[in-house]
């Protein structure tokens, strides 16, 4: 009936655009039926834990901001990785069958990209709301929109989405879920270790930091949190620990602290300490943030393109 007609008239079949929507539909059904929705409450729990652990000083002091933005970037990377690390490899044989029947790999990956974008967006909204609920101080100034939370949200989204696409890439070349889950921790460690600012890396290792989403995410978050305007407390805290140090029977540090407190100069000193330790990479500047966003978008595109290229060879999978 259809077959003969199809050959004689050379009828067109479903193109990439419609196929994208077919697979998008499948993904949303799986979101409901295959418990993929569980990543949403999981992101709330992780955000809650991080807010509890490091939320007190984020966007308050330089040290707290560095640690807190690193933790926020880690949440995003973790969420992104878990969203899609098993998405393709768990149905690899099905993808191979469907590719044989006329499915376009680009449509399949595009459907994943749209679906994951919505998932990442939902996770970012949840994360920000949890942070607010946990009384984490958020930046009060914005660089792009009228709402600082939206600016921060865009950065968090880009981190999550880039990590998500990296996991999708891993999932597209891993033959089994076990392989994908074995590679994931390794990639996670690379992301954390080479974030650039949080750990002191040797000079030769610095170029490698450009390949990590955490570096660009952390930099953008620090810039948006106006890191360079914040006080630095570590010098003060360390000196305070030595307040009882005696020199010829006297305690000069304790005396100095008393004098500073009496003159209400503590905050000024902390600010001064901060201004002496500013990092130009974290300037409250549109250019800095845009550069970070562009890097994250570039990596996202590269990861997705590589996933398409790799999956085009799925027919070579052995039985």
């Amino acid at each position: 009936m259809w077959g003969d007609g199809m050959r004689k008239v050379r009828l067109r079949h479903t193109g990439r655009f419609i196929q994208t929507f077919i697979y998008l539909g499948k993904l949303f059904r799986m979101f409901l039926f295959q418990n993929d929705w569980k990543v949403l409450p999981m992101s709330a729990v992780i955000a809650g834990l991080v807010s509890f652990a490091v939320g007190k000083n984020i966007f308050v002091t330089m040290e707290g901001t560095l640690m807190g933005t690193f933790a926020l970037a880690c949440i995003c990377v973790w969420n992104g990785f878990f969203n899609s690390i098993q998405m393709i490899c768990r149905e690899r044989a099905i993808v191979k069958r469907e590719h044989r029947s006329g499915m376009h790999i680009s449509s399949y990956v595009a459907a994943h990209m749209i679906y994951q974008a919505l998932l990442c967006l939902a996770q970012v909204v949840i994360t920000i709301n949890v942070c607010i609920f946990m009384k984490v101080k958020m930046p009060s100034e914005s660089l792009f929109t009228a709402w600082p939370l939206v600016d921060i949200g865009i950065t968090l989204f880009l981190i999550t989405y880039a990590a998500d696409m990296l996991a999708l890439l891993i999932s597209s070349f891993a033959r089994t879920t076990t392989t994908a889950m074995t590679i994931m921790p390794f990639m996670l460690i690379v992301q954390l270790l080479f974030s650039g600012s949080f750990f002191n890396l040797p000079e030769q290792a610095m170029p490698f930091t450009n390949i990590t989403v955490t570096k660009w995410g952390l930099t953008a978050l620090c810039a948006q949190g106006n890191y360079n305007s914040l006080p630095m407390v570590s010098v003060w805290n360390n000196a305070l620990k030595m307040k009882d140090y005696e020199v010829e029977g006297e305690k000069p540090l304790l005396e100095a602290f008393k004098m500073i407190e009496e003159n209400d100069q503590r905050d000024a000193i902390l600010k001064e300490s901060g201004s002496l330790n500013q990092n130009p990479d974290f300037n409250f500047d549109r250019g800095v943030v845009v550069k970070c966003w562009i890097w994250m978008i570039i990596w996202t595109i590269i990861y997705a393109a590589l996933a398409v290229i790799i999956l085009e060879f799925i027919d070579m999978d052995k039985r």
Binding site: W2, D4, Q34, I94, S101, D315
Partner: protein, 445 residues
């Protein structure tokens, strides 16, 4: 003075390594001789490792072992050349350590295989690891140590004679002229299928029979155009290879496993399959009508809103078939559709396939339990591995004539006749391949 001592140490190390290499090579040369592998490979690094794995009957592991050995040589040379570049050396050292560890593991696997082939105790492994040159020399020269099986060199063996001619393309039906299907497998050319010619008329249900490795799946992939061979495949008068993009929708291939998403509903699975496989100018109403028709035809209407994972084995198999049948293909191919199904359910399924063939389709089926449903088939294709391990056509024709041709009264007995002796068969593949070629020549005139 210090320089002289360093130079002397280097020279001594080189001499030691050289002597060790020569001793080990001589030992392997003798082992290779015993195993039926050419002796010269014992002296060529990397190739030696691969041929050792052949002796050990561990070719699959041997490939990885060979690649690892090759990488070790390459990185070793790079490290020697990069003396002084600390950063680069550190970067190379990380993978080098990992590769060396992996190579040792694979070396142990190969040695254990060798010990098994020689029928010795596993404790020999310690000597192979810690005293390689001595052990290899002893194994090479000892007359008591002989392998239980030898490496078969297929290059010296001639396969069964060929029919060697393409048959005329039929106006209707499937015409298959596979001259050769080969692949490059680990730098070696391997012929998977050769000299297969036939015409299958429309309305026929054909059984594809063959032992393990006879090339059944390769044949199906070549016929469907999924993996193209040196061949001409015509469905009616259309060339499958030249028009693959449009022809693939007229060929349904149902894989052995039920490859469907378990967490989707039956209706949506079939509806999505229809959207993918049917022409895009068909209206939504017509598409859904076709989906409903196929659901009815395959007895899935009552479970259309169920999740696929909740279906029984038989229902799932029918859905998998329905996904391909939705586009009403002229050629319908099924790889073991009855695997995992009990006799009654399998019989019902094959009756359904018979109905599809009766609608004027060509249905080709692989099954490992053919005798319980053989009455439903018109023809049988028998593929057999000849002595060169190439898939050859031993029979294509009506089922009853096949019994007569092979002198057997069941398909399983036919399979036993053509299977190689090392697979528990009678090893008569070449005999029947030649007999069939002669018969076809006679018929063609």
């Amino acid at each position: 003075m210090n320089i002289n001592i360093d130079t002397m140490n280097t020279v001594l190390n080189c001499v030691r390594d050289g002597v060790s290499f020569i001793l080990v090579s001589i030992g392997y040369m003798k082992i290779f001789e015993k195993c039926g592998v050419q002796k010269r490979w014992a002296f060529i690094p990397v190739l030696r490792e691969y041929h050792l794995s052949l002796c050990a009957d561990k070719e699959k592991e041997g490939r990885t072992y060979t690649i690892l050995s090759c990488l070790i040589y390459v990185i070793g040379i790079a490290i020697a050349l990069l003396n002084g570049h600390d950063m680069l050396l550190a970067l190379l050292a990380i993978p080098f350590v990992g590769i060396v560890v992996a190579q040792v593991i694979f070396e142990i696997k190969i040695y254990l295989g060798l010990i098994d082939v020689f029928g010795r105790r596993k404790r020999w492994i310690w000597l192979f690891i810690f005293l390689e040159w001595f052990t290899v020399l002893y194994w090479g020269f000892s007359k008591k140590l002989v392998p239980t099986r030898k490496v078969q060199d297929l290059k010296d063996i001639e396969g069964a004679k060929e029919f060697g001619e393409d048959i005329t393309v039929a106006d209707e039906g499937l015409t298959v002229n596979i001259r050769n299907r080969s692949v490059i497998d680990f730098f070696k050319r391997k012929v998977l299928l050769k000299d297969i010619h036939m015409t299958i008329p429309k309305g026929h249900m054909v059984l594809l029979l063959g032992g393990s490795g006879a090339g059944k799946t390769t044949y199906l992939n070549a016929v469907t155009g999924y993996e193209q061979a040196d061949a001409e495949i015509k469905l009616d008068s259309e060339d499958v290879y030249k028009d693959y993009t449009s022809m693939k929708y007229d060929i349904g291939f149902v894989p052995q496993q039920d490859l469907m998403r378990g967490n989707d509903t039956v209706l949506m699975t079939l509806s999505d399959a229809a959207t993918l496989r049917l022409p895009s100018n068909i209206s939504f109403q017509d598409r859904m009508k076709r989906v409903e028709e196929v659901l009815e035809q395959f007895g899935l209407a009552s479970v259309k809103n169920n999740l696929v994972e909740k279906l029984s084995g038989g229902q799932r198999k029918r859905l998998s078939i329905a996904m391909e049948f939705i586009s009403d293909p002229t050629l319908f191919i099924l790889d073991e559709p009855d695997s995992g199904l009990d006799g009654v359910v399998a019989r019902n399924l094959f009756e359904k396939l018979r109905q599809i063939a009766d609608e004027g389709k060509i249905v080709v089926v692989i099954t490992h339990t053919p005798d319980r449903v053989i009455d439903l088939f018109d023809d049988v294709i028998v593929l057999a591995k000849d002595q060169t391990r190439t898939g050859r056509l031993a029979w294509y024709g009506p089922v009853n004539e096949a019994y007569e041709f092979f002198g057997k009264d069941s398909m399983e007995d036919i399979l036993l006749t053509i299977n190689q002796k090392d697979e528990g068969g009678e090893g008569k593949a070449d005999e029947f391949v030649e007999k069939y070629a002669d018969r076809v020549k006679e018929n063609v005139g």
